[in-house]
């Protein structure tokens, strides 16, 4: 059985083509059913996300690329030649490696992103429901999900934030641990500020107070976060109650001064304060860094954290690729052993048929025998065929992991013993 993966992704095809090829949720059957009904194809599944459309096929024959490309071209409303240059075709080992890498997030635009794992799981579930998987693809999906989990656990590839809002969340957790029970103050209505507040809220932040020059906008934003709105000139008093302060305004001067923070730290009974300045020009006085218990990060600092984390993910990706290479070897061995099983079963059945036929002939010639005698003859003949089958079976199993040799041995044994 051969595995073939045909597809496009964000590196090989522009978004115009990807959107034409993408398979909407619920319409997977339109692709999988026609392929599954193709005589040469034993099993098929599809992974369709905003960055990739990939069809994986398990087949006896090699000539299954054409029908898959034709189907994709038809869906994209293009000639096959037009889409071929954007397609990649991966065979067996490469296809398996690619599946493992995709599910682990190594082939994603943002290395290590976690959503792809769930998308691969969904594609498995859909193909299972549509009954388009054969045993090889079942095994491949099970192994893919196992490998993705192993990669994430052993390398921690998805642990570090690679965007500015996530970097802010990561730093907040480094200061406070859990964000549960914490209160944030969002000053201004800049897009990045909103996004950061949203991520903090999603990570357990208890409450948000929004202060903005246009009070209506503050009320609207506070409503979105389930928080409270405050007047812009109340920032100094709000600092006393805030654990995290996000400032994102277009003001030309400091909106939060060192003196305000010093006074707030003196009068509050809360511990540390984390200040995030997302404005350019800066809106939080850098001198605040010198105040004990105040941690100030501006947009460049957060970008640096995100960039450093990206580099770290690349390091982890190299570690993940080593794990994947070992897993590919192990899976190929398993598949090859699986390939030898039908020949072993057939060989045993064939030899037993011969034994039964010869035994019947012999017993007819011998005339009546006692039950004990019959049992002894049965045991003798069974012993003989087991001995005859012993070495061929051992060779079949041993050679299973070597693809070419395994195929030759299987073919030879089938010819010698007259198996179908």
């Amino acid at each position: 059985m051969t595995l073939t993966l045909i597809g496009v992704n964000h590196r090989t095809a522009p978004v115009e083509l990807r959107e034409r090829l993408s398979i909407a949720k619920g319409s997977e059957a339109d692709v999988l059913r026609p392929l599954a009904s193709n005589g040469g194809i034993r099993g098929t599944a599809v992974i369709s996300t905003c960055n990739r459309v990939e069809i994986i096929v398990s087949s006896e024959a090699d000539n299954i690329i054409e029908p898959v490309v034709e189907l994709l071209a038809e869906r994209a409303d293009r000639d096959p030649e037009q889409i071929e240059k954007h397609l990649y075709v991966l065979r067996h080992r490469d296809a398996i490696r690619h599946m493992f890498r995709v599910a682990s997030g190594l082939d994603s635009m943002i290395i290590g992103e976690p959503q792809i794992g769930g998308q691969v799981r969904d594609s498995y579930q859909i193909a299972k429901n549509l009954d388009t998987l054969d045993s090889t693809l079942y095994a491949l999906y099970e192994q893919t999900l196992h490998v993705a989990k192993r990669v994430r656990t052993e390398t921690g590839i998805g642990e570090h934030a690679v965007s500015i809002p996530f970097a802010a969340v990561e730093l907040a957790k480094k200061i406070f641990g859990e964000l549960k029970g914490l209160r944030a103050l969002l000053v201004g209505a800049g897009e990045m500020g909103e996004l950061t507040a949203e991520h903090l809220k999603g990570n357990g932040l208890e409450s948000i107070v929004v202060a903005n020059r246009a009070y209506d906008k503050a009320v609207e934003l506070a409503g979105r976060f389930g928080g409270e709105a405050a007047q812009f000139d109340s920032v100094a008093t709000q600092l006393e109650k805030a654990d995290i302060v996000i400032v994102s305004t277009s003001a030309p001067n400091y909106t939060v001064t060192a003196e305000q923070v010093r006074q707030a730290m003196d009068s509050r009974r809360r511990g540390d304060i984390f200040l995030i300045d997302l404005s350019v020009p800066r809106n939080i006085d850098p001198a605040i860094s010198e105040i004990e218990g105040a941690y100030l990060y501006n947009i460049d600092d957060l970008s640096e954290v995100a960039e450093a984390n990206k580099a770290k993910r690349l390091e982890k990706a190299a570690q993940a690729d080593r794990i994947i290479e070992k897993e590919v070897d192990a899976f190929l061995k398993r598949l090859a052993t699986q390939d030898a099983v039908p020949t072993i079963v057939e060989l045993q059945r064939r030899l037993d048929e011969i034994r039964q036929a010869e035994l019947e002939k012999c017993l007819r010639k011998m005339g009546p025998v006692t039950a004990e005698q019959r049992q002894a003859i049965e045991a003798l003949t069974t012993g003989i065929i087991n001995k005859v089958a012993h070495y061929p079976i051992i060779r079949l199993r041993e050679s299973a992991s070597a693809p070419n040799e395994g195929e030759t041995i299987r073919e030879t044994i089938r010819k010698i013993f007259g198996l179908r």
Binding site: L171, K174, G271, E292, A308
Partner: protein, 265 residues
């Protein structure tokens, strides 16, 4: 007399490998090495407990009466507290301080190789035994508190300077460090104070004086004052300062002097 036996040497070797592994994990950033180090520490702890048991069964008194005994016992309590914190707070980072310290203490016990002190009337006194036990447990808790305090200072500076030191990823959040350091200090200081008071009481009963001023007593007094000042800085919220870091170093050195003073009686 019983010389340091095989279980002590084995324990030192296992702890040393574990300490090496945690430092190697810094270079390779592989968490598996830390897990392996923890497993080794647990195995080493078994050998360590056998060694402590050997001292008790041989001398019929707690392992606290001379330098090798006290060093072994403090190292043993340090491992107990470190493992408890590891399982409670999943904090591995203190291992970078605690494991080498434990290796140094046990190596001291092996190198000094002082004979076990023979039973003497002092060791039958409940106040004396209480003094030794409370002091050693208190010292262990205070050392753990210092280790976490040092981690706090390192992480605080790294976060302020926006630089990631080698330990950045291994060190937990500032709130946990503060909590563990403070609790270990409070508990350690209370136990240590009770231990010192029991010692003073014993000295008064035995010698008719509140104390005999030697290195041990001097070290203990300086350490007590330094720890009191550190605790005060925790309460007043000024524990991030260089002054507190200096006090912590002073407290640590005073404790070392006090431990080494034990062999001088």
């Amino acid at each position: 007399m019983v010389s340091p036996n095989l279980s002590l040497y084995l324990t030192i070797a296992i702890y040393a490998v574990a300490a090496g592994l945690v430092f190697l994990s810094l270079l390779t950033r592989r968490e598996q090495l830390q897990r392996l180090a923890t497993t080794l520490i647990v195995i080493g702890f078994v050998g360590h407990t056998i060694w402590i048991g050997t001292i008790c069964s041989t001398t019929h008194h707690p392992p606290l009466t001379n330098l090798p005994e006290a060093a072994s016992f403090i190292a043993w309590v340090l491992i107990v507290v470190e493992l408890a914190l590891l399982f409670r707070y999943k904090v591995q980072a203190a291992a970078f301080f605690v494991y080498p310290l434990v290796v140094i203490l046990l190596a001291t016990a092996a190198i000094v190789s002082e004979p076990f002190s023979p039973p003497n009337p002092d060791q039958t006194s409940k106040i004396f035994i209480g003094h030794l036990l409370l002091t050693m447990v208190g010292v262990s808790a205070l050392l753990i508190g210092l280790a976490f305090g040092a981690l706090y200072q390192m992480q605080d500076r790294a976060m302020k300077a926006k630089r990631r030191g080698a330990l950045y990823e291994w060190i937990p959040n500032l709130r946990v460090l503060d909590l563990v350091s403070y609790r270990a200090m409070v508990a350690g200081f209370a136990i240590y104070s009770a231990g010192i008071m029991a010692g003073v009481l014993f000295a008064y009963n035995r010698h008719g004086a509140l104390t005999t001023f030697g290195a041990k007593e001097g070290g203990a007094l300086v350490a007590w004052v330094a720890f009191a000042a550190i605790l005060q800085s925790h309460l007043s919220g000024t524990f991030r300062t260089r002054k507190t870091a200096g006090l912590a170093l002073l407290a640590f050195l005073a404790i070392v002097v006090s431990i080494f003073g034990i062999s001088r009686g």
